[in-house]
Symmetry: C2
């Protein structure tokens, strides 16, 4: 494969989306990158477009795809399924693009089980205290939900050593540069470069 499958994980509130958006829209490598579009069984919210924000399907269709191995990873949250359709991801990678999956640790394990050449990045907060402050700063969630997210963050953090790269998100500009550097360096990996034909004589 000449492109990159990039898995980005990290606790809710750590700033993954901001970092990824910075890279896609603000860095030279951004033109190579695109977000993977997930498939879900939950209903579209106002303004959400099928095929752009999500692929919206019913549970029967979702589970059929999952059974046939057509999803790189999937999980069930709050009574709905979410997953990553394999086909568009593989097509992009074969075109030399970098496809970014923003998924949880369990999803990462499913992805590397099927595609061990995936590049895995964990975005960590500088400390638990900073994460808590950020979650509270959003002002959108009640105490119970915040405590749940912090507990989930602690559990995810146990798997941090399974990721190839760690970015500490203290300053998000710096973190975006870090992610861009990882993508740029991965593009220079010999096995990818040789694939693209090293020397055009």
């Amino acid at each position: 494969m000449s492109g990159i499958l990039l898995v980005v994980s990290g606790p809710s509130g750590v700033g993954k989306s901001t970092i990824i958006e910075h890279v896609i829209h603000g860095d030279a490598v951004g033109r190579l990158c695109r977000f993977s579009i997930s498939m879900t069984t939950r209903a579209p919210r106002a303004g959400e477009i099928d095929g752009e924000h999500y692929f919206f399907v019913d549970e029967k269709a979702f589970l059929r795809d999952a059974e046939h191995g057509m999803l790189l990873e999937y999980a069930r949250y709050n009574d709905h399924y979410y997953g990553t359709p394999a086909e568009p991801v593989l097509r992009s990678i074969n075109n030399g693009e970098c496809v970014i999956l923003d998924i949880e640790t369990q999803g990462m394990f499913q992805v590397i089980g099927r595609m061990p050449e995936a590049v895995t990045v964990f975005v960590a907060p500088p400390s638990d205290a900073v994460l808590e402050k950020r979650l509270r700063g959003r002002g959108t969630e009640d105490e119970e939900r915040i405590m749940k997210r912090l507990e989930a963050a602690r559990l995810e953090h146990e798997h941090i050593s399974k990721y190839q790269y760690i970015i500490i998100n203290d300053i998000s500009d710096k973190a975006a540069h870090d992610l861009a550097a990882i993508i740029r360096a991965e593009c220079l990996k010999t096995y990818r470069t040789i694939f693209k034909e090293v020397r055009k004589q």
Copy 2:
């Protein structure tokens, strides 16, 4: 090891030194980087300072160090020995620095034999024709010497797949950014980050 041992190879005339100088003096990661100082048995040239440009030693001292495994790699060219003293390199790496070795392919093989965690980068010209033009452009070497260098480049190129990263030096600013991205990404590798203590609670 928390730092990086970075081996950069590539044919004479490809622009390795320019790229490395750009990174050391022009990029944020530059402050982490330093050139390794080689040991040699050749006499100092005008202006060369012992311990700054080279460690100048006699052949007896050089071969004693080589025998005692105190050199990461060494070779003989034009009746003189050149090598990389291990001790200062290891000290810098343990301090979290990135030590850059600008050495030939045979030296790279010696280095990874002793330190398989070294990061290896090959700087390739966009084509043989471009390399030839650059070598002639220097205007410092006769035809025989240029032919010798081109033959050496072809031989080195056979080992390109043994390097972890390949940078094509078409535009040297871009190549310097590539090298800086590799260093930055390598600093984010999990095993190095964990070494440096991931989270300061």
